[in-house]
Amino acid sequence: MSSTATSTAATPVHTPWEELVTSALLGTDRRPLRAGPRGAGAADGPAALLDAAALHTVRRRAALLPASGAPAPEPAPADPRPPLPAAARRRLAQLLADRSAPAAAGRRGTAPDLTELIPQWLASAGARGFRAPADLLPALLDAARARTDLRPAVLEFAGPRGLWLAGLNPEWRFALRTSPGHARRPAVEDPEAVRRLWEEGLFAERVALLAAVRAEDPAAARELLATTWSTERAEDRLMFLDSLRTGLRGDDESFLEVALADRSRNVRATAAELLSALPESALARRMADRATSCVNPDRTGAAVSVAVEAPHECDAAMQRDGVVPVPPSGRGERSWWLSQLVEAGPLAVWGERFGGRSAQEIVALPVADGWGPELHAAWCRAAVRQRDPDWARALLGAPSTPPANGPGTASLAERSKLLAILPPAERALWVADFVAAHGLSEAFQLLGVCTVPWAGPLGRSVVDALDIARDAGSYPWSFSGVMGLAERCLDPAEAGRLEVLTTTPDEPEGASPGAGGYWSEAFQRLVSTLRLRAAMDAELTPDAPDGTDVGGPGAV
C-alpha cells in the first residue's frame, strides 16, 4: 500500500466512498473527483480515484466486525435412542451416496442395486430403535423427498431432530405434513395442553394429536373429536373419521352412527363402511337382514343351491346406511344394490342361513341364474373388509386350481388382498404352491403381500421356478420384476444354495442366444445382494461382531 499512498496530500483519500462510486460509475471525464475539503481542489484522474478506492476497500475489509446475531431457533429436542454402530453408519452413508449418484445407463451388472436396499435398511434400523446420525439427516431427507415411499420410514428414523431440521428448509416441508407421531405435540397426559393444541393447532398437528390420544385412550379421543365435530370443515371431518380406522372397536359405534347422518356424503359413506367392519354393530345387523332377504338356500332341487333375489328398490333407510343408489355406468341397478348389501353384511350370518355350513361349503354351492360371480365378488370384498380368514381361505380356493376356474375371484389384485388376511406362514405356503403350479408369470402381485424375508418353502419355490425359466431358455429380463423382489425378499440364508446357479450353463437346444450368460449375471447379482443384506443386518445387531463372514469373496 505504501506505493499507492505516497502523495497523501494530493489524493482524495478523505472523499466518502459513495462519491467514489458515483464518480466511477459515470466516469471521471463526466464527473471528475475533487480532492481536498469540500471538493475545492483540482480535479484528479482515474488513478487517484482508484488509489482512494483501494485504500477504502482494504481499510473497510480490515475493520470488519461481527454483527449482533439473529435470535436462535429452539434447539432440536433430544433423541434418547442409542446411536448406530460404526459399521452400520458407514453402510448407510454408502447407500445414500449411491442414491445421489446418477443412475447407470443400460443393463444392470452383477453388483447389487444399493438404492433398492434403503427401505430394508431403514426398516431394520427402525425395528432396532437406533437414532439417525445427525450429519446424515440431510441426505436422508433428500432421499425421502425424492421417493414418497421412503417417507414414513425416514421420518420415523430421523426422529425429532430430523423434523426440527425439516422445519428450517422449505425443500423438506413434506416432513411436516407427513410426519407421524413426532409432530410438535404436548404430552397426552396434560389435558389442558391437549385441548389447546386441538383448538389452535394446524391440521397436521391435530391429526397427529388425535392419533396419539387415541392410542392412549380411545374414549378421550372420541370426546376430543366430539367437542368440535359440528364446526369442522367437511374434508377435515372426513380425515378425522378416517383416522378412527386404526384401532376400530365396538365403542366407536355410537359416534359413527351419528356420523351416518352427516351433511357430507363422503363422511356418511366412510361412517357406513367403518360400521360394517364392526360385525356387532346395529348397521351390520340391518345390512345382514337386507342381505339375507336377498340370498337364500334353494332346496327345490335334489341338491342345495343358492337362490338370489336382488333388491327392487334402494329406499331411504338403505341410503342412510351408506348404500349408493346410482350404479356406475354399465351396471344394472339391482345387482349394484345387491353387491353393496352383501359386501356390508357380516359374513357370520351365512353360516346360520345355510344350515351351519362352513364358508368353504357355502362358496362351493352352485348359484342360480348366473348370480355366482356377482355374489362371490361381494363376499370377497366383505372378507377383506371384515378381515375374515375362514372366508378368505374359502374364496381363494386351492392354490393349484387355475385362477380362472377357482371360486371367488380371478383378479390378482383381489386375491392378494384376500391373501393378506391369512396368517403369514399360511400365506407363504399358499403362494409357494401357486408358484409351483403356475410358474412366475402371474405371481408378482401375490409375492408382494408375503412377509419379508420369504419363508423357506416360498423361497425354494421361487428359486426353482427361476431355475426352470432359465432351463427353458428365455431371457432373464422377462422375470426382472420377480428377480428384483427376490433380491429384496429372499432369506439371505439362501445365498449359499444359490451359488451353484451363478455359473454360466451350457446353452440348451433352442435357447435364446446368450441367455445363459445373462442368467448367470442375474443370479450373481441375486447372491451378492443377499450377502449384502446379511451383512447389513449383522451390522445393525449391536452384540454381534462387526459384520460377518457372509460378505467374503469366493475361496481363494
Binding site: 476497500t57 482494504v58 445427525a134 428450517l168 451378492s528
Partner: protein, 466 residues
C-alpha cells in the same frame, strides 16, 4: 521388510484411520469412474483381496478377460497400481478396492490369504524409494544460474508491459464510467485477460476474468466492481514499484501476479490435522485446496495442488486424520500456502478440533492478515461455540457466538451447498466448533465438530462440510 525399514521408520501410533465412502468417492477423477468404482465396491467383484502390511491393500478384480486385474494400493500417499489398461487415475479397480476397505468389507480383514508376490514387490519398491536418501534427487536449482536469471528478467519485463497496459485499460474504463461495463455485450474482459496471459502474468489474468463476472452478480455490482478494479490497480502499481517494497510484501506481490516462488525456509514438522479438502475449477485445471492444522505449532497451512481435466489432483488426504509430516511454507501471502514434505508413520484418526476463538477473533485475524496481503479474500479461522442460525432475510445464515451473541454471516456461496445443512443438522441448534474461511464475503464453513461425545459422531470427529 526389515531391509527397507531398518530403524528409521516409526511404527503407526494408532489404528490406520479408515476413510469414509465419501472420501473415497472424492478421489474419483470423474463421474464415470466414480460410478464404475462404486459397482466394484463389493466382495463379489473380487476373486481375492486382502490387506498388506501397514497401509497397503491388494486385490484381484474380475474383468471381462480371462486373467483378473491386479490392483494394489498404498494408502500412504496414496499410490495405486493396477494391471488394467485404463488411463484414468486412480482407475475404477483402485476405487472399488478402496470402497471395499472403506465399508470394512470382510474380504479385507486380516485372514489366511498371503499378499501375492507382485503386490509385495510393488510395496517393497515404493518403500525403498521413500527410504532412499535425498541425494537421489536432482540437485536443487537450475543448471545454469546465469541463463535462468536472464529468463526471469525477460519475464519480469513482459509482466511489467502487461501491468502498464492493464493500468491504461483501467484508466480508460474509469474515464468512461463503470456503467459501460455493465451493459450487455461489453466484451473487453476476456480480451484483456488473454493479453495478460500473453504477458505471462496468470495472476493478473485471473483477476481480470473475475471482473467480467461481477456486472452479472446482482444488485450492488458497481460497488463490488469498483472494489476489485481498485485492488487490481493496487496490484499493478505494487508490481511497477516493486523495488521500493519491503521483502515479504514484494514476495506477496510476485505471488499475486502469478510468479511461482519455491517453498523455502525451515520445514515445520508437526502432527497435522487434515481440516478440509475441496476442489475448485480454475480455468482448464482443477485446483485442490487442503487445509491442515498443526497441533503443536498451532499453524494453519494450505496445500494447493492442480490436476488437468479428467485427472484428480495428485495429492489427497482424508479429512479428519492426523499426519505426522514436514511442511514447508511458500513466501508471500502471509506464508499460508505450504508444500507437504516428508511424512512419517501412518495417518491416525484425530481426536480433537483445533483451539477455536470467537467471531470477533476471526474477523480481527482476517484484518491483521490484510496487512501482509491486502488482496486476501479470506483467512482461515476456527470458531468455537457457535450456532448456525437463519438470519431471517431471504434464506441467509449466520454463525452466532453462543456466549456473546455476535454473528458472522455465512458466505452466500456456502449457503447453496449441501454442507450447510450437514452443519445445521450436526448442531441441532446447539453450539459447535466450526473451521472455515473468514473474509469480506462472510464465513465459509468447511468442517465442524460436536462439542461432546453425546452425539453419534463422537467428540473430536471431523465432519466435512465440503
Amino acid at each position: 521388510m526389515l531391509l527397507s525399514h531398518g530403524g528409521e521408520s516409526s511404527p503407526a501410533t494408532g489404528p490406520v484411520a479408515r476413510w469414509t465412502v465419501d472420501q473415497v468417492l472424492a478421489m474419483a477423477p470423474d463421474e464415470a469412474s466414480r460410478e464404475a468404482g462404486s459397482r466394484l465396491g463389493s466382495g463379489r467383484s473380487w476373486s481375492a483381496a486382502g490387506p498388506g502390511g501397514g497401509t497397503a491393500l491388494w486385490g484381484l478384480c474380475r474383468g471381462s478377460g480371462s486373467t483378473p486385474y491386479r490392483t494394489a494400493i498404498d494408502m500412504d500417499g496414496p499410490a495405486y497400481t493396477c494391471s488394467c489398461p485404463s488411463r484414468k487415475f486412480p482407475c475404477k479397480h483402485a476405487l472399488g478396492l478402496l470402497l471395499l476397505w472403506a465399508s470394512d468389507d470382510a474380504a479385507l480383514r486380516p485372514g489366511e490369504a498371503r499378499a501375492p508376490d507382485w503386490a509385495e514387490e510393488w510395496w517393497e519398491d515404493r518403500r525403498r524409494r521413500a527410504a532412499a536418501p535425498a541425494g537421489g534427487r536432482p540437485p536443487a536449482g537450475p543448471a545454469d544460474p546465469e541463463a535462468a536469471r536472464k529468463r526471469a528478467d525477460r519475464r519480469a519485463a513482459r509482466i511489467t508491459g502487461g501491468a502498464q497496459e492493464l493500468e491504461q485499460r483501467l484508466d480508460d474504463l474509469l474515464r468512461g464510467g463503470l456503467a459501460a461495463a455493465g451493459r450487455p455485450g461489453y466484451g473487453q474482459w476476456e480480451e484483456t485477460a488473454a493479453r495478460m496471459v500473453d504477458a505471462q502474468a496468470p495472476g493478473l489474468a485471473g483477476r481480470v476474468r473475475e471482473l467480467g463476472s461481477i456486472p452479472a452478480s446482482g444488485p450492488g455490482w458497481p460497488t463490488r466492481l469498483l472494489e476489485e478494479c481498485a485492488l487490481l490497480h493496487l496490484l499493478d502499481s505494487a508490481w511497477l514499484g516493486l523495488d521500493r517494497l519491503p521483502g515479504p510484501l514484494a514476495a506477496t506481490v510476485r505471488t499475486r501476479v502469478g510468479l511461482t516462488l519455491p517453498a523455502e525456509g525451515p520445514a515445520v514438522r508437526d502432527r497435522w490435522l487434515v481440516l478440509a479438502q475441496y476442489d475448485t475449477p480454475d480455468g482448464r485445471v482443477v485446483a485442490r485446496r487442503i487445509w491442515l492444522h498443526g497441533s503443536r505449532s498451532g499453524r494453519t497451512a494450505l496445500l494447493l495442488s492442480f490436476g488437468a481435466a479428467g485427472r484428480s489432483p495428485g495429492l489427497s488426504l482424508p479429512v479428519g486424520v492426523t499426519i505426522d509430516a514436514e511442511v514447508t511454507p511458500y513466501p508471500g501471502g502471509g506464508r499460508l500456502r505450504a508444500e507437504l514434505g516428508e511424512r512419517f508413520g501412518t495417518p491416525v484418526a484425530a481426536t480433537a478440533p483445533p483451539a477455536g476463538g470467537t467471531t470477533a477473533d476471526a474477523a480481527a485475524a482476517y484484518g491483521r492478515a490484510l496487512l501482509d496481503d491486502p488482496w486476501l479474500d479470506s483467512w482461515p479461522a476456527t470458531l468455537s461455540e457457535v450456532v448456525p442460525v437463519p438470519s431471517g432475510d431471504g434464506g441467509g445464515w449466520q454463525l452466532v457466538g453462543a456466549t456473546d451473541g455476535s454473528a458472522l454471516p455465512v458466505a452466500s456461496s456456502a449457503v447453496s451447498r449441501p454442507g450447510l445443512w450437514r452443519l445445521v443438522a450436526l448442531s441441532g441448534g446447539r453450539p459447535v466448533t466450526v473451521f472455515g474461511e473468514c473474509g469480506h464475503r462472510g464465513f465459509d464453513p468447511l468442517a465442524a465438530w460436536c462439542p461432546e461425545a453425546a452425539d453419534d459422531v463422537g467428540a473430536g470427529t471431523t465432519v466435512a462440510l465440503v
